[in-house]
Subunit: 389 residues, 4 copies
């Protein structure tokens, strides 16, 4: 660590009862390279204060609003103020919070999807570039070591030319209208004002990000079926689509929140001319590799035969399983080291640039928009997109 | 067995080097209820003779052509002639062989897809009805006991209303142009004249049949991507499609022969309002059942807690695995018992009516045609169809 | 087939309600190389007759006792009489039935364990040798192609020197005293007079045979814990033992019929200096191979990369699963071809000698005796044994 | 947290290159309830200093020896000094370090096995009792939520009376003499002076602890085979044993470090009169439950149908996998909350007493001694033991 100290970060969102805030805090804590120093945990100042106390924060660093936090942290001396902000609010706030902190000079880690409109996403890309800050989007699933291994194998040509990509993200927790039964997570994630989209935004973007991260393929066209199965729900809860990738590969993407009994079944299959890969989020420590002529191979996390980037993103020897927090922590650690390098005026190690960016966020938001349009029109639509550089 | 003797059957096709003929013979032999008595195993009379000798047949019952066989078997006394014919030729011959034998008064077991045109399929349906013969199509995968269990559970409402159906049939054996390297199976299956269609016909119809058998759902519309990945190949080798079922359920069907490393990966997932089922052909003895509120359940073949029809179609106690031949044998056994009942002038037991029929064959051929049309037009197309009664 | 005709066989045992008789008949029927021609299916002549009729046998070939069958079949002309007998009675009859048929000049396929005393086993070995007949013991689990693959890999040195062998055969069906609830299978298998021993004989010998077939290791000493968990049961229902093999390898063998929920969980792990193998009877089409330095490999039945003997003992391409009947049929097919060669005065192909013999049966019976002695004495005992040549 | 602040802890051991020290630090950091404040990371003061700097510790709190640390931390004011010490040295030092800190008034978290002699283990038990400190032993595998679920199910009688216990801990990393090739972890773990025993102590004790934690059974007698396969190795690298438990249950325990390709394969099967459980450390989020009459059930971490103690020890919803660090963190969190309660003069919540204690450590050390004795004598030996209260 070129800085010689832990990074300091503040959090916006993640108050009492929130799910993802606690995940971010544990992910950030795991490696001992950063510490939570400030927070605006809730739009309700009392809740924010309560949360700060539960986290043993200095009460002076717990704020009643993100705007106040951005302003007052910026005013602190360099040796005290936070280095970056972690944004874990519902989606509709990501843009304005990120904008406030970037304009105040802070680096950003932000939950996904990045924004609720493409316009905001593109504005954010331009702002990140203009202010030259580090911006990391927590598409945490690409933080898994065996996902990085898959990407490395595709890049090295182990699979030959990719022909077919199948990515699925089935969940079942919204099979009933639990948003009308007081389930807080369900309530905001099915409110179009707070979430933007339903399954598409919440998990479809993870699927899109995973497939793109591993294969490097860009979409050319897609044909989507976007469905709301649960009566009265204001957003989609199931989406299936056919994809044509630039260069001729074909794809299927399926994301659903009504597949009863599915828990968090993100999975990816990539089929190339020379071989195939399979990876399942619920069994994240293994990657299945098949070829035409030999036995199937089970690559396992932590082994010396893996790609350097897969080994770099792991903390335990083989057979000592890692899981969700560790993958999430990889986004924090890599982004944190990039931030530390920036603060120290150094170049980050190439491995420390390995986290999702604002451009990835814009691609994801464009993907949501395209899929919704295709579903509405019941037709194939153009899906090509280049985010602002 | 009301007949008091083994059934006698003849085979058309299945000569030296053929794959599926030997499968049919083993399936027919397993239960000791029928015996191979005659054959026209090849269009080359020498090959036919050689095959007959290898099978220890009486040389007088080995014929040089199916037409000769139909005619001469029909002329034998009732106590000698075959009871039914088993048709295992390439697809383009199914229709004329079946027609010849039905018109000669024989019952029929026929490999799939039933015909290469919808016109032939419908003509065959009408002929079967007119001549009142038993006609069984070897969609063998629905012969598996745990597939029958799945169908029983859907029918009993265990899953509530079905919302989402995902059926896949990935194979990898045609990822390279092995039809140009002397592989006989590949050669005829990729020849549009002999096979009619590629992956769609060879395995896509199995997927269609499996999903329909289990869920009972009829297609309303579909949008297919039909691809030929291997350069120079004259038929499709990969197909993906979105499906709308009558009543609002949604589906994804994926069949491919270029998924390197996949062997025979037919699998089905059915998601209803109350529960979900998963079944994999390569692990056929188990069926996974999930509900919203309890642990996942692994139902295992042979156990007393299964549906009567699942137990009826099994031969071994739990843990003594059954597989491909036994499922195939269920089609033969059930159709054979229906034939025996017919010959004895009796009503078959309801369980003995449980095999795919000519109507199923027509639905499958219509499905091929619809998917090819959708792929050509790159659009959603109407998929509703009722076969001739 | 050098004979130019199907083999003819008779069956002793396997009457109405029997389990294993029907298994033998299906195994024998699968390849169309032999046909059931005669039988003494039950010690009750009426039952025997009824069974013969259900199997469509010529009533003149259905006998009221095995003695009658041996005598009268031997008196038939060579072109009519059976070529071999299949013995599927409870264990205590194996010896006298086998003796009668061997002395009448017939070859034998016999269920396991071979006899209920070591004296009988050794006498049978000597008789087989003296009369020069083919004698096959249906240790059917070593008929699985992937078990043959494992044996080939050990022989080729792929594993280096074997250090540790773990073989288990857990079942749960006797966890309650169902022998006192009218369950026929349970009744005779827990009757020391009919079965000889309990779990040890019924399934422990399969485990012993599997480990020895794959590794080629001979036992030097063992220390067994032999338990009867179910009160009032007259035989053991659980056995665990430590094993020292000649040459220094160590082993664990565990067979149980009280492991609730286990179905037929025979499995084997072999660990050598260079690699390890794992095989599970309930997933018989795969063999797991691990080395120190590379990914785990899943070898799958039917693929060209397998050993010739594994490919020879399979009937379907990869992904089209085979299972219990096919493995059982391999014992029949291989023994049948050895018998046919003998009848034709030819040498069997080396692959056709690949079935368990009387010597294997004697080793199994000695193993039972040694384990029971060790359990009684609660001590390590010498386990070395060489059966009569 | 009754304290209103994070706990402060110091670490002894865990210097550069150590494996388990970093694991402890991450486990302690995960929940944000404690912070590393001091350390004597190495017997080499320079290494200790370097490690302290890498961890961003105040250099005044980094010590050259554990003795110095115990003395000087004890002299700090209550608001500054550490609350407990974490001992992660090689085994031979555990006793003296623990003794020094306990006598200086500190609570202790200590790696396993607790000591290298039974005398030390018992002395430590007495000291813990005399000084009334919290002492937690990091048998981390019993920290997994689904292990706690298994224990709860056994306690609630879901399995009826336990009859058979099979616990295995296969690893393969010591299949070659890598301790002579400069592998630091291997070097100390195979040095009898530093480690005490080999596989028995390093992983056999984890297996013993897991089986006892889940079943509550005490050993009555055991018969062990203790082997050193790798030539020249000074400790055992493989152990198999038969166990009789008080009350009549039977057991098999197998721990090995020479099972090539095994990574960290700790697993447990418990068979009772009414049901069975299976759990595998490498797939820690699921627990398999089988009964005699129904389908196998897969219980999955995070679901509402689990026992309260299983839910209490988890941090993520279903399908978001947890793994090794989280289980380890449960030992820290629970022990930490017990320490915090003690410091606050409060009673810990019953869930906060759920961590392995000094008594568990003494049982483990006695187990090592008994197994070694049995192996030496090649005989069953008495295994009953009650640690000092």
């Amino acid at each position: 660590m070129p800085l010689g100290r832990k990074l300091r970060y503040g959090m916006v969102g993640g108050g009492p009862g929130a799910f993802i805030g606690a995940v971010h805090r544990r992910a950030a804590a795991l490696d001992g390279e950063m510490e939570l120093t400030a927070g605006a945990f809730s739009s309700d100042p009392d809740n924010s204060r309560r949360m700060g106390a539960a986290l043993f924060l200095d009460p002076r660093r717990v704020y009643g609003s993100y705007a106040e936090m951005a302003e007052r942290e910026a005013a602190l001396p360099a040796g005290e103020r936070i280095d970056f902000v972690s944004i874990v609010t519902p989606n509709h706030l990501h843009f304005s919070v990120a904008k406030a902190f970037i304009e105040a000079g802070f680096h950003v880690v932000c939950d996904k999807p990045m924004t609720t409109t493409l316009e905001d996403a593109e504005a954010l890309c331009r702002l990140v570039k203009a202010r030259d800050v580090v911006f990391a989007l927590t598409h945490n699933y690409t933080g898994y070591p065996m996902v990085k291994q898959a990407r490395a194998m595709v890049r090295e040509g182990v699979l030959g030319t990719v022909r077919k990509v199948i990515v699925e993200y089935p969940q079942g927790w919204l099979a009933r209208p639990i948003e009308r039964e007081g389930q807080k997570q369900a309530a905001w994630r099915t409110d179009p004002k707070l979430a933007g989209a339903g399954a598409l935004g919440d998990i479809g973007t993870h699927a899109e990000n995973l497939a793109r991260y591993v294969t490097g393929l860009e979409m050319e066209a897609l044909c989507a079926e976007v469905t709301t199965f649960v009566e009265g729900r204001a957003v989609d809860d199931d989406v299936s689509m056919l994809i044509r990738y630039v260069g001729g590969a074909r794809g299927i993407l399926h994301a659903s929140q009504i597949c009863v009994g599915e828990e968090n079944g993100l999975n990816l299959r990539v089929h190339g001319t020379e071989g195939s890969l399979r990876w399942f989020q619920e069994k994240p420590n293994v990657l299945y590799h098949r070829t035409a002529d030999g036995p199937e191979r089970i690559l396992k996390r932590g082994n010396a035969y893996l790609a350097p980037i897969a080994l770099h993103n792991t903390r335990l020897p083989p057979g000592h399983p890692e899981a969700f927090f560790e993958a999430f922590a990889n986004v924090y650690r890599n982004a944190g080291r990039a931030i530390a390098a920036r603060l120290a005026g150094a170049e980050p190690h190439p491995f420390d640039r390995d986290f999702p960016t604002a451009a990835d966020g814009a691609v994801g938001v464009h993907f949501i928009r395209t899929a919704l349009e295709s579903g509405r029109r019941r037709a194939w639509v153009d899906a090509r997109y280049t985010p602002p550089a």
